[in-house]
Protein backbone atom coordinates (compact mmCIF):
# COMPACT_ATOMS: atom_id res chain seq x y z
CA UNK A 1 0.00 0.00 0.00
CA UNK A 2 1.91 3.00 -1.20
CA UNK A 3 -0.94 5.49 -1.36
CA UNK A 4 -1.11 8.26 -3.91
CA UNK A 5 2.24 8.91 -5.55
CA UNK A 6 2.59 11.67 -8.10
CA UNK A 7 5.89 12.09 -9.95
CA UNK A 8 7.02 14.86 -12.31
CA UNK A 9 3.52 15.55 -13.42
CA UNK A 10 3.03 18.25 -16.06
CA UNK A 11 -0.34 19.35 -17.34
CA UNK A 12 -1.23 22.14 -19.72
CA UNK A 13 -4.36 24.18 -19.58
CA UNK A 14 -4.67 25.68 -23.01
CA UNK A 15 -1.42 27.46 -23.70
CA UNK A 16 -0.42 27.64 -20.06
CA UNK A 17 1.45 24.98 -18.18
CA UNK A 18 -0.80 24.73 -15.18
CA UNK A 19 1.15 22.00 -13.45
CA UNK A 20 4.92 21.66 -13.82
CA UNK A 21 6.95 18.66 -12.81
CA UNK A 22 4.95 18.24 -9.67
CA UNK A 23 5.86 15.44 -7.30
CA UNK A 24 4.23 14.64 -4.01
CA UNK A 25 2.78 11.75 -2.09
CA UNK A 26 -0.28 11.14 0.01
CA UNK A 27 0.24 8.37 2.53
CA UNK A 28 -2.56 5.81 2.80
CA UNK A 29 -5.03 6.62 5.52
CA UNK A 30 -3.88 10.22 5.81
CA UNK A 31 -5.64 13.47 5.16
CA UNK A 32 -3.40 15.63 3.03
CA UNK A 33 -4.22 19.20 2.24
CA UNK A 34 -3.10 20.51 -1.13
CA UNK A 35 -3.10 24.25 -0.94
CA UNK A 36 -2.30 27.20 -3.08
CA UNK A 37 -3.75 30.43 -4.29
CA UNK A 38 -6.29 30.75 -7.07
CA UNK A 39 -4.78 29.68 -10.35
CA UNK A 40 -2.07 27.66 -8.70
CA UNK A 41 -3.02 24.67 -10.75
CA UNK A 42 -4.87 22.71 -8.10
CA UNK A 43 -8.02 22.05 -10.05
CA UNK A 44 -6.07 21.12 -13.16
CA UNK A 45 -4.10 18.70 -11.02
CA UNK A 46 -7.20 16.94 -9.81
CA UNK A 47 -8.72 16.82 -13.25
CA UNK A 48 -5.58 15.18 -14.58
CA UNK A 49 -5.58 12.67 -11.76
CA UNK A 50 -9.12 11.54 -12.47
CA UNK A 51 -9.22 11.29 -16.24
CA UNK A 52 -10.94 14.56 -17.02
CA UNK A 53 -7.81 16.02 -18.51
CA UNK A 54 -4.83 14.62 -20.31
CA UNK A 55 -1.45 15.07 -18.68
CA UNK A 56 1.61 15.76 -20.77
CA UNK A 57 4.22 13.90 -18.82
CA UNK A 58 4.89 12.31 -15.51
CA UNK A 59 3.11 9.61 -13.58
CA UNK A 60 0.50 9.24 -10.93
CA UNK A 61 -0.26 6.03 -9.09
CA UNK A 62 -2.76 5.01 -6.50
CA UNK A 63 -1.11 1.94 -5.08
CA UNK A 64 -0.58 -0.11 -8.25
CA UNK A 65 -3.14 1.64 -10.37
CA UNK A 66 -2.02 4.25 -12.89
CA UNK A 67 -4.37 7.20 -12.76
CA UNK A 68 -3.29 9.04 -15.88
CA UNK A 69 -5.26 8.30 -19.01
CA UNK A 70 -7.91 6.32 -17.18
CA UNK A 71 -11.57 7.13 -17.55
CA UNK A 72 -13.27 8.72 -14.55
CA UNK A 73 -15.92 6.05 -14.41
CA UNK A 74 -13.24 3.38 -14.39
CA UNK A 75 -11.40 5.05 -11.54
CA UNK A 76 -14.57 5.18 -9.46
CA UNK A 77 -14.83 1.44 -9.74
CA UNK A 78 -11.24 1.18 -8.56
CA UNK A 79 -12.04 3.22 -5.48
CA UNK A 80 -10.79 6.64 -6.57
CA UNK A 81 -13.49 9.28 -6.39
CA UNK A 82 -13.22 12.95 -7.32
CA UNK A 83 -15.62 15.42 -5.77
CA UNK A 84 -15.31 18.20 -8.30
CA UNK A 85 -16.41 21.75 -7.92
CA UNK A 86 -19.71 22.16 -9.78
CA UNK A 87 -19.73 18.66 -11.14
CA UNK A 88 -20.81 16.68 -8.17
CA UNK A 89 -24.42 17.49 -7.68
CA UNK A 90 -27.12 17.67 -10.34
CA UNK A 91 -29.35 20.50 -9.13
CA UNK A 92 -32.38 19.34 -11.09
CA UNK A 93 -32.38 15.92 -9.42
CA UNK A 94 -33.48 15.19 -5.88
CA UNK A 95 -31.08 14.57 -3.03
CA UNK A 96 -31.93 10.90 -3.05
CA UNK A 97 -31.39 10.63 -6.79
CA UNK A 98 -28.03 12.33 -6.47
CA UNK A 99 -26.97 9.90 -3.79
CA UNK A 100 -28.27 6.92 -5.75
CA UNK A 101 -26.21 8.05 -8.69
CA UNK A 102 -23.05 7.25 -6.79
CA UNK A 103 -24.20 3.75 -6.06
CA UNK A 104 -25.58 2.88 -9.48
CA UNK A 105 -22.59 0.97 -10.68
CA UNK A 106 -22.40 -1.25 -7.63
CA UNK A 107 -23.72 -4.76 -7.55
CA UNK A 108 -24.54 -5.43 -3.94
CA UNK A 109 -27.88 -3.77 -3.27
CA UNK A 110 -27.72 -4.40 0.46
CA UNK A 111 -24.33 -2.79 0.70
CA UNK A 112 -25.61 0.22 -1.21
CA UNK A 113 -28.48 0.58 1.20
CA UNK A 114 -26.06 0.28 4.10
CA UNK A 115 -23.84 2.97 2.62
CA UNK A 116 -26.85 5.26 2.28
CA UNK A 117 -27.77 4.87 5.92
CA UNK A 118 -24.16 5.47 6.97
CA UNK A 119 -24.12 8.68 4.97
CA UNK A 120 -27.33 9.84 6.62
CA UNK A 121 -25.75 9.19 9.99
CA UNK A 122 -22.79 11.28 8.96
CA UNK A 123 -24.97 14.06 7.58
CA UNK A 124 -28.24 13.95 9.50
CA UNK A 125 -29.42 17.20 7.93
CA UNK A 126 -30.05 15.34 4.71
CA UNK A 127 -32.52 12.89 6.17
CA UNK A 128 -35.46 15.25 5.89
CA UNK A 129 -34.40 16.54 2.51
CA UNK A 130 -34.20 13.33 0.52
CA UNK A 131 -37.05 14.18 -1.84
CA UNK A 132 -36.07 17.79 -2.30
CA UNK A 133 -34.44 19.03 -5.48
CA UNK A 134 -30.77 19.67 -4.86
CA UNK A 135 -31.13 23.18 -6.23
CA UNK A 136 -33.17 24.13 -3.18
CA UNK A 137 -30.46 23.19 -0.71
CA UNK A 138 -28.03 25.52 1.00
CA UNK A 139 -24.39 25.50 -0.02
CA UNK A 140 -23.34 23.41 2.92
CA UNK A 141 -26.10 20.87 2.38
CA UNK A 142 -25.17 20.59 -1.25
CA UNK A 143 -21.60 19.86 -0.28
CA UNK A 144 -22.89 17.13 2.00
CA UNK A 145 -24.75 15.63 -0.93
CA UNK A 146 -21.62 15.81 -3.05
CA UNK A 147 -19.52 14.03 -0.45
CA UNK A 148 -22.34 11.63 0.30
CA UNK A 149 -22.60 10.68 -3.35
CA UNK A 150 -18.89 10.05 -3.44
CA UNK A 151 -19.16 7.84 -0.38
CA UNK A 152 -21.86 5.74 -2.01
CA UNK A 153 -19.12 4.31 -4.18
CA UNK A 154 -17.20 3.16 -1.11
CA UNK A 155 -14.03 4.94 -2.22
CA UNK A 156 -10.59 4.26 -0.86
CA UNK A 157 -9.14 7.55 -2.13
CA UNK A 158 -11.21 10.67 -2.01
CA UNK A 159 -10.12 13.77 -3.92
CA UNK A 160 -11.99 16.92 -2.96
CA UNK A 161 -11.79 20.11 -4.94
CA UNK A 162 -12.33 23.15 -2.72
CA UNK A 163 -15.33 21.93 -0.75
CA UNK A 164 -15.28 25.09 1.37
CA UNK A 165 -15.95 27.42 -1.54
CA UNK A 166 -18.77 29.81 -0.79
CA UNK A 167 -19.53 28.33 2.62
CA UNK A 168 -19.76 30.03 5.99
CA UNK A 169 -16.96 29.27 8.48
CA UNK A 170 -19.17 27.24 10.76
CA UNK A 171 -20.35 25.12 7.88
CA UNK A 172 -16.78 24.66 6.72
CA UNK A 173 -15.81 23.48 10.17
CA UNK A 174 -18.64 20.94 10.09
CA UNK A 175 -17.64 19.61 6.72
CA UNK A 176 -14.01 19.33 7.67
CA UNK A 177 -14.95 17.53 10.86
CA UNK A 178 -16.81 14.97 8.78
CA UNK A 179 -13.74 14.53 6.63
CA UNK A 180 -11.76 13.84 9.73
CA UNK A 181 -14.33 11.29 10.74
CA UNK A 182 -14.13 9.67 7.35
CA UNK A 183 -10.42 9.36 7.68
CA UNK A 184 -10.41 7.92 11.17
CA UNK A 185 -13.57 5.79 11.13
CA UNK A 186 -13.61 4.59 7.56
CA UNK A 187 -9.90 4.56 6.85
CA UNK A 188 -10.22 6.68 3.76
CA UNK A 189 -7.24 8.39 2.21
CA UNK A 190 -8.18 11.96 1.52
CA UNK A 191 -6.55 14.59 -0.68
CA UNK A 192 -8.14 17.91 0.11
CA UNK A 193 -7.49 20.69 -2.37
CA UNK A 194 -8.17 24.05 -0.79
CA UNK A 195 -7.68 27.77 -1.02
CA UNK A 196 -8.71 28.08 2.59
CA UNK A 197 -5.28 27.07 3.82
CA UNK A 198 -5.72 27.59 7.55
CA UNK A 199 -8.81 25.47 8.02
CA UNK A 200 -7.45 22.81 5.73
CA UNK A 201 -4.10 22.55 7.47
CA UNK A 202 -5.77 22.43 10.84
CA UNK A 203 -7.66 19.29 9.97
CA UNK A 204 -4.96 17.64 7.86
CA UNK A 205 -2.03 15.45 8.80
CA UNK A 206 0.08 16.50 5.95
CA UNK A 207 0.28 19.48 3.65
CA UNK A 208 1.47 20.17 0.11
CA UNK A 209 1.82 23.78 -1.02
CA UNK A 210 1.65 24.61 -4.71
CA UNK A 211 2.31 27.89 -6.43
CA UNK A 212 2.07 28.46 -10.19
CA UNK A 213 1.93 24.75 -10.76
CA UNK A 214 5.10 23.98 -8.83
CA UNK A 215 5.73 22.43 -5.49
CA UNK A 216 6.75 24.97 -2.90
CA UNK A 217 6.73 23.00 0.30
CA UNK A 218 5.47 19.79 1.79
CA UNK A 219 5.51 18.33 5.26
CA UNK A 220 3.42 17.68 8.34
CA UNK A 221 0.55 20.10 8.51
CA UNK A 222 1.49 21.44 11.93
CA UNK A 223 4.95 22.26 10.67
CA UNK A 224 3.61 24.20 7.69
CA UNK A 225 1.21 26.07 9.92
CA UNK A 226 4.06 27.05 12.20
CA UNK A 227 6.35 28.38 9.52
CA UNK A 228 5.87 32.17 9.41
CA UNK A 229 7.69 32.76 6.13
CA UNK A 230 5.59 30.16 4.38
CA UNK A 231 2.46 31.53 5.90
CA UNK A 232 3.18 35.02 4.77
CA UNK A 233 4.28 34.17 1.27
CA UNK A 234 1.85 31.51 0.21
CA UNK A 235 -0.77 30.89 2.78
CA UNK A 236 -1.99 34.40 3.17
CA UNK A 237 -2.14 34.53 6.91
Amino acid sequence: MSGLVVKDLSVSHGAVQAVRNLSFAVAPGSLTAIIGANGAGKTTLLRALTGLKKAESGSAFWNDLSLLGAKPEGLVRAGVVHVADGKSVIPEFTVEENLDLGGLWRRGKKDVALAKSEILQLFPALTTRMKQHAATLSGGERQMVAIGRALMSRPKLLLLDEPSLGLAPKVIANIFDSLNQLRSEFGLTIALVEQNAMSALKVADHGVVINLGELVASGPASQLLADPALRAAYLGF
Binding site: K87, I90, E92, F93, E97, L101, G102
Partner: protein, 296 residues
Protein backbone atom coordinates in the same frame (compact mmCIF):
# COMPACT_ATOMS: atom_id res chain seq x y z
CA UNK B 1 -71.17 15.84 -33.39
CA UNK B 2 -70.43 12.46 -34.87
CA UNK B 3 -68.26 14.16 -37.42
CA UNK B 4 -66.25 15.87 -34.71
CA UNK B 5 -65.81 12.72 -32.69
CA UNK B 6 -64.79 10.74 -35.76
CA UNK B 7 -62.28 13.39 -36.69
CA UNK B 8 -60.83 13.44 -33.21
CA UNK B 9 -60.56 9.66 -33.16
CA UNK B 10 -58.76 9.61 -36.48
CA UNK B 11 -56.46 12.30 -35.16
CA UNK B 12 -55.85 10.25 -32.04
CA UNK B 13 -54.84 7.20 -33.99
CA UNK B 14 -52.44 8.97 -36.31
CA UNK B 15 -51.25 11.08 -33.40
CA UNK B 16 -50.30 7.90 -31.56
CA UNK B 17 -47.94 6.93 -34.37
CA UNK B 18 -46.40 10.37 -34.52
CA UNK B 19 -45.97 10.19 -30.77
CA UNK B 20 -44.02 6.94 -31.02
CA UNK B 21 -41.72 8.39 -33.64
CA UNK B 22 -41.38 11.57 -31.62
CA UNK B 23 -40.57 9.47 -28.58
CA UNK B 24 -37.73 7.79 -30.45
CA UNK B 25 -36.35 11.15 -31.54
CA UNK B 26 -36.66 12.69 -28.09
CA UNK B 27 -34.98 9.67 -26.47
CA UNK B 28 -31.97 10.15 -28.67
CA UNK B 29 -31.99 13.91 -28.28
CA UNK B 30 -32.11 13.65 -24.51
CA UNK B 31 -29.32 11.13 -24.32
CA UNK B 32 -26.98 12.47 -26.98
CA UNK B 33 -28.27 15.89 -28.04
CA UNK B 34 -28.41 14.72 -31.63
CA UNK B 35 -31.40 14.80 -33.95
CA UNK B 36 -31.40 11.32 -35.39
CA UNK B 37 -32.69 11.53 -38.92
CA UNK B 38 -31.50 7.99 -39.39
CA UNK B 39 -34.39 7.00 -37.12
CA UNK B 40 -36.48 6.60 -40.27
CA UNK B 41 -33.84 4.35 -41.76
CA UNK B 42 -33.54 2.31 -38.60
CA UNK B 43 -37.30 1.99 -38.41
CA UNK B 44 -37.66 0.98 -42.03
CA UNK B 45 -34.96 -1.66 -41.75
CA UNK B 46 -36.58 -3.06 -38.62
CA UNK B 47 -39.93 -3.08 -40.37
CA UNK B 48 -38.54 -4.97 -43.32
CA UNK B 49 -37.17 -7.51 -40.89
CA UNK B 50 -40.65 -7.75 -39.39
CA UNK B 51 -41.95 -8.16 -42.93
CA UNK B 52 -39.62 -11.10 -43.47
CA UNK B 53 -40.93 -12.70 -40.31
CA UNK B 54 -44.48 -12.34 -41.57
CA UNK B 55 -43.56 -13.69 -44.99
CA UNK B 56 -42.04 -16.79 -43.44
CA UNK B 57 -44.17 -17.38 -40.40
CA UNK B 58 -47.25 -15.26 -41.08
CA UNK B 59 -47.54 -14.13 -37.49
CA UNK B 60 -47.87 -10.41 -36.85
CA UNK B 61 -47.62 -10.86 -33.10
CA UNK B 62 -44.25 -12.46 -33.53
CA UNK B 63 -43.07 -9.96 -36.08
CA UNK B 64 -43.72 -6.99 -33.83
CA UNK B 65 -41.40 -7.90 -30.96
CA UNK B 66 -38.76 -9.20 -33.33
CA UNK B 67 -38.82 -5.94 -35.23
CA UNK B 68 -38.59 -4.06 -31.94
CA UNK B 69 -35.61 -6.15 -30.95
CA UNK B 70 -34.00 -5.57 -34.32
CA UNK B 71 -34.65 -1.86 -33.86
CA UNK B 72 -32.91 -1.94 -30.52
CA UNK B 73 -29.87 -3.71 -31.89
CA UNK B 74 -29.62 -1.43 -34.90
CA UNK B 75 -29.96 1.64 -32.72
CA UNK B 76 -27.23 0.44 -30.41
CA UNK B 77 -24.93 -0.28 -33.35
CA UNK B 78 -25.47 3.14 -34.88
CA UNK B 79 -24.55 4.82 -31.65
CA UNK B 80 -21.57 2.64 -30.91
CA UNK B 81 -20.09 2.85 -34.39
CA UNK B 82 -20.94 6.31 -35.61
CA UNK B 83 -22.23 8.64 -33.02
CA UNK B 84 -19.71 8.03 -30.29
CA UNK B 85 -16.95 9.16 -32.60
CA UNK B 86 -18.80 12.27 -33.61
CA UNK B 87 -19.76 13.30 -30.11
CA UNK B 88 -16.15 14.06 -29.40
CA UNK B 89 -15.71 16.43 -32.27
CA UNK B 90 -14.64 20.02 -31.95
CA UNK B 91 -14.50 22.97 -34.28
CA UNK B 92 -17.07 25.26 -35.89
CA UNK B 93 -19.07 22.48 -37.44
CA UNK B 94 -19.19 20.31 -34.34
CA UNK B 95 -22.86 20.95 -33.91
CA UNK B 96 -23.92 20.06 -37.40
CA UNK B 97 -21.72 17.02 -37.95
CA UNK B 98 -23.78 14.44 -36.12
CA UNK B 99 -26.95 15.73 -37.77
CA UNK B 100 -25.46 15.50 -41.24
CA UNK B 101 -24.07 12.09 -40.37
CA UNK B 102 -27.53 10.85 -39.47
CA UNK B 103 -28.88 12.29 -42.71
CA UNK B 104 -26.18 10.37 -44.56
CA UNK B 105 -26.99 7.28 -42.58
CA UNK B 106 -30.64 7.59 -43.54
CA UNK B 107 -29.68 7.60 -47.19
CA UNK B 108 -27.30 4.72 -46.64
CA UNK B 109 -29.82 2.47 -44.92
CA UNK B 110 -32.58 3.32 -47.41
CA UNK B 111 -30.32 2.46 -50.32
CA UNK B 112 -29.20 -0.78 -48.73
CA UNK B 113 -32.79 -1.74 -47.98
CA UNK B 114 -33.65 -1.00 -51.60
CA UNK B 115 -30.75 -3.09 -52.80
CA UNK B 116 -31.77 -6.04 -50.67
CA UNK B 117 -35.53 -5.98 -51.00
CA UNK B 118 -36.13 -3.85 -54.07
CA UNK B 119 -38.15 -0.68 -54.31
CA UNK B 120 -41.50 -2.21 -55.08
CA UNK B 121 -44.29 -1.83 -52.60
CA UNK B 122 -44.74 -4.59 -50.09
CA UNK B 123 -47.71 -5.15 -47.86
CA UNK B 124 -48.11 -6.29 -44.33
CA UNK B 125 -51.52 -7.63 -43.35
CA UNK B 126 -53.28 -6.21 -40.34
CA UNK B 127 -53.63 -8.47 -37.35
CA UNK B 128 -57.04 -7.21 -36.37
CA UNK B 129 -60.03 -5.86 -38.18
CA UNK B 130 -59.91 -2.55 -39.98
CA UNK B 131 -63.60 -2.00 -40.17
CA UNK B 132 -64.75 0.83 -37.98
CA UNK B 133 -66.66 0.16 -34.82
CA UNK B 134 -70.42 0.41 -35.25
CA UNK B 135 -72.82 1.95 -32.80
CA UNK B 136 -76.36 1.31 -33.91
CA UNK B 137 -76.53 2.84 -37.39
CA UNK B 138 -73.34 4.79 -37.41
CA UNK B 139 -69.88 3.51 -38.15
CA UNK B 140 -67.06 5.60 -36.89
CA UNK B 141 -63.73 5.53 -38.71
CA UNK B 142 -62.05 3.98 -35.69
CA UNK B 143 -61.37 0.30 -36.02
CA UNK B 144 -59.90 -2.36 -33.74
CA UNK B 145 -56.70 -1.68 -35.60
CA UNK B 146 -56.74 1.98 -34.62
CA UNK B 147 -57.38 0.91 -31.07
CA UNK B 148 -54.37 -1.35 -31.24
CA UNK B 149 -52.21 1.53 -32.40
CA UNK B 150 -53.35 3.87 -29.65
CA UNK B 151 -53.04 1.19 -27.00
CA UNK B 152 -49.56 0.17 -28.12
CA UNK B 153 -48.33 3.73 -28.18
CA UNK B 154 -49.75 4.36 -24.75
CA UNK B 155 -48.18 1.21 -23.34
CA UNK B 156 -44.77 1.97 -24.84
CA UNK B 157 -44.82 5.50 -23.49
CA UNK B 158 -45.94 4.35 -20.09
CA UNK B 159 -43.19 1.76 -20.01
CA UNK B 160 -40.57 4.32 -20.91
CA UNK B 161 -41.88 6.79 -18.41
CA UNK B 162 -41.66 4.18 -15.68
CA UNK B 163 -38.17 3.14 -16.69
CA UNK B 164 -36.96 6.69 -16.85
CA UNK B 165 -38.42 7.94 -13.63
CA UNK B 166 -38.41 4.94 -11.35
CA UNK B 167 -35.53 2.69 -12.22
CA UNK B 168 -31.80 2.88 -11.71
CA UNK B 169 -31.31 2.54 -15.44
CA UNK B 170 -33.57 5.50 -15.95
CA UNK B 171 -31.56 7.52 -13.47
CA UNK B 172 -28.38 6.64 -15.31
CA UNK B 173 -29.99 7.57 -18.63
CA UNK B 174 -31.17 10.90 -17.33
CA UNK B 175 -27.86 11.72 -15.69
CA UNK B 176 -25.89 10.74 -18.79
CA UNK B 177 -28.00 13.07 -20.86
CA UNK B 178 -28.23 15.92 -18.44
CA UNK B 179 -24.81 16.06 -16.86
CA UNK B 180 -22.48 13.58 -18.50
CA UNK B 181 -19.31 14.66 -16.73
CA UNK B 182 -20.98 14.55 -13.34
CA UNK B 183 -22.34 11.12 -14.15
CA UNK B 184 -18.89 9.90 -15.14
CA UNK B 185 -17.42 11.15 -11.92
CA UNK B 186 -20.12 9.19 -10.12
CA UNK B 187 -19.03 6.03 -11.86
CA UNK B 188 -21.71 5.81 -14.52
CA UNK B 189 -20.52 4.39 -17.83
CA UNK B 190 -21.96 7.23 -19.83
CA UNK B 191 -21.11 5.93 -23.29
CA UNK B 192 -22.67 2.56 -22.64
CA UNK B 193 -25.72 4.13 -21.08
CA UNK B 194 -26.26 6.34 -24.07
CA UNK B 195 -26.10 3.32 -26.31
CA UNK B 196 -28.90 1.80 -24.28
CA UNK B 197 -30.86 5.01 -24.85
CA UNK B 198 -30.33 4.59 -28.57
CA UNK B 199 -31.45 1.00 -28.36
CA UNK B 200 -34.69 2.05 -26.67
CA UNK B 201 -35.22 4.71 -29.31
CA UNK B 202 -34.61 2.18 -32.06
CA UNK B 203 -37.18 -0.15 -30.57
CA UNK B 204 -39.77 2.63 -30.31
CA UNK B 205 -39.18 3.65 -33.92
CA UNK B 206 -39.44 0.05 -35.05
CA UNK B 207 -42.77 -0.37 -33.32
CA UNK B 208 -44.01 2.82 -34.95
CA UNK B 209 -42.89 1.51 -38.31
CA UNK B 210 -44.52 -1.88 -37.99
CA UNK B 211 -47.71 -0.35 -36.68
CA UNK B 212 -48.11 2.19 -39.42
CA UNK B 213 -47.23 -0.06 -42.33
CA UNK B 214 -50.42 -2.10 -42.70
CA UNK B 215 -52.18 1.16 -43.49
CA UNK B 216 -49.65 2.25 -46.06
CA UNK B 217 -47.38 0.21 -48.22
CA UNK B 218 -43.81 -0.65 -47.33
CA UNK B 219 -41.00 0.70 -49.47
CA UNK B 220 -37.49 1.92 -48.71
CA UNK B 221 -38.65 5.51 -48.38
CA UNK B 222 -42.11 5.02 -46.97
CA UNK B 223 -41.04 6.19 -43.56
CA UNK B 224 -39.47 9.48 -44.56
CA UNK B 225 -42.75 11.25 -44.14
CA UNK B 226 -43.32 9.70 -40.76
CA UNK B 227 -39.89 10.98 -39.79
CA UNK B 228 -40.84 14.52 -40.69
CA UNK B 229 -44.15 14.33 -38.86
CA UNK B 230 -42.54 12.63 -35.90
CA UNK B 231 -39.92 15.35 -35.77
CA UNK B 232 -42.57 18.04 -36.00
CA UNK B 233 -44.44 16.33 -33.16
CA UNK B 234 -41.27 16.16 -31.09
CA UNK B 235 -40.54 19.83 -31.67
CA UNK B 236 -44.11 20.79 -30.80
CA UNK B 237 -43.83 18.91 -27.56
CA UNK B 238 -40.43 20.34 -26.79
CA UNK B 239 -37.48 18.10 -27.43
CA UNK B 240 -36.56 17.82 -23.78
CA UNK B 241 -39.53 15.89 -22.58
CA UNK B 242 -40.77 12.36 -23.14
CA UNK B 243 -44.24 13.40 -22.10
CA UNK B 244 -43.83 16.25 -24.54
CA UNK B 245 -43.29 13.74 -27.31
CA UNK B 246 -46.60 12.11 -26.51
CA UNK B 247 -48.33 15.44 -26.18
CA UNK B 248 -46.79 16.73 -29.38
CA UNK B 249 -47.91 13.66 -31.25
CA UNK B 250 -51.46 14.03 -30.09
CA UNK B 251 -51.55 17.76 -30.76
CA UNK B 252 -50.22 17.22 -34.26
CA UNK B 253 -52.51 14.30 -34.94
CA UNK B 254 -55.60 16.14 -33.75
CA UNK B 255 -54.56 19.37 -35.41
CA UNK B 256 -53.99 17.68 -38.75
CA UNK B 257 -57.22 15.73 -38.54
CA UNK B 258 -59.21 18.85 -37.76
CA UNK B 259 -57.64 20.87 -40.56
CA UNK B 260 -58.06 18.05 -43.03
CA UNK B 261 -61.71 17.57 -42.14
CA UNK B 262 -62.90 21.11 -41.66
CA UNK B 263 -60.68 23.13 -43.96
CA UNK B 264 -59.51 21.07 -46.87
CA UNK B 265 -58.62 17.47 -47.45
CA UNK B 266 -55.51 18.06 -49.42
CA UNK B 267 -53.73 20.42 -47.10
CA UNK B 268 -51.99 17.65 -45.20
CA UNK B 269 -48.40 18.80 -45.37
CA UNK B 270 -48.91 22.51 -45.22
CA UNK B 271 -51.15 21.82 -42.24
CA UNK B 272 -48.28 20.21 -40.36
CA UNK B 273 -46.18 23.27 -40.99
CA UNK B 274 -48.98 25.54 -39.83
CA UNK B 275 -49.52 23.66 -36.57
CA UNK B 276 -45.79 23.72 -35.94
CA UNK B 277 -45.34 27.40 -36.65
CA UNK B 278 -48.34 28.30 -34.49
CA UNK B 279 -46.89 26.45 -31.52
CA UNK B 280 -43.36 27.74 -31.98
CA UNK B 281 -44.45 31.34 -32.37
CA UNK B 282 -45.97 31.20 -28.94
CA UNK B 283 -43.40 28.93 -27.34
CA UNK B 284 -40.14 28.68 -29.30
CA UNK B 285 -39.00 25.87 -27.08
CA UNK B 286 -42.01 23.69 -27.69
CA UNK B 287 -44.93 23.06 -25.35
CA UNK B 288 -42.99 21.34 -22.60
CA UNK B 289 -39.48 22.21 -23.56
CA UNK B 290 -37.13 24.13 -21.34
CA UNK B 291 -35.73 27.44 -22.41
CA UNK B 292 -32.01 27.01 -22.45
CA UNK B 293 -29.20 29.14 -23.75
CA UNK B 294 -28.65 28.69 -27.44
CA UNK B 295 -25.52 26.67 -26.96
CA UNK B 296 -27.13 24.04 -24.80
Amino acid sequence: MIRLISTLLIGLSSGAIYALMALALVLVWRSTRVVNFAQAGQAILSTYIGYEVIVHVNNYWLALPIAALAGAVIGALVDAILIRRLSQSTGPSAGIRPVIATLGLLGLISSIVGLIWGNDLKRIPTPVGTHGYTFGHTTIPFSPYNLLIVASAAIVMLLFAIVFQRTNLGLALRASAFAPETARLAGVRVDRTRTIGWAFAGAAGAIAGVMITPQNALSPNSMDLLLVLGFVAAVIGGLDSLIGAGLGGIVLGLGLALILEYVSTSLAFPAAFIVLILVLLVRPQGLLGKLRSRDA
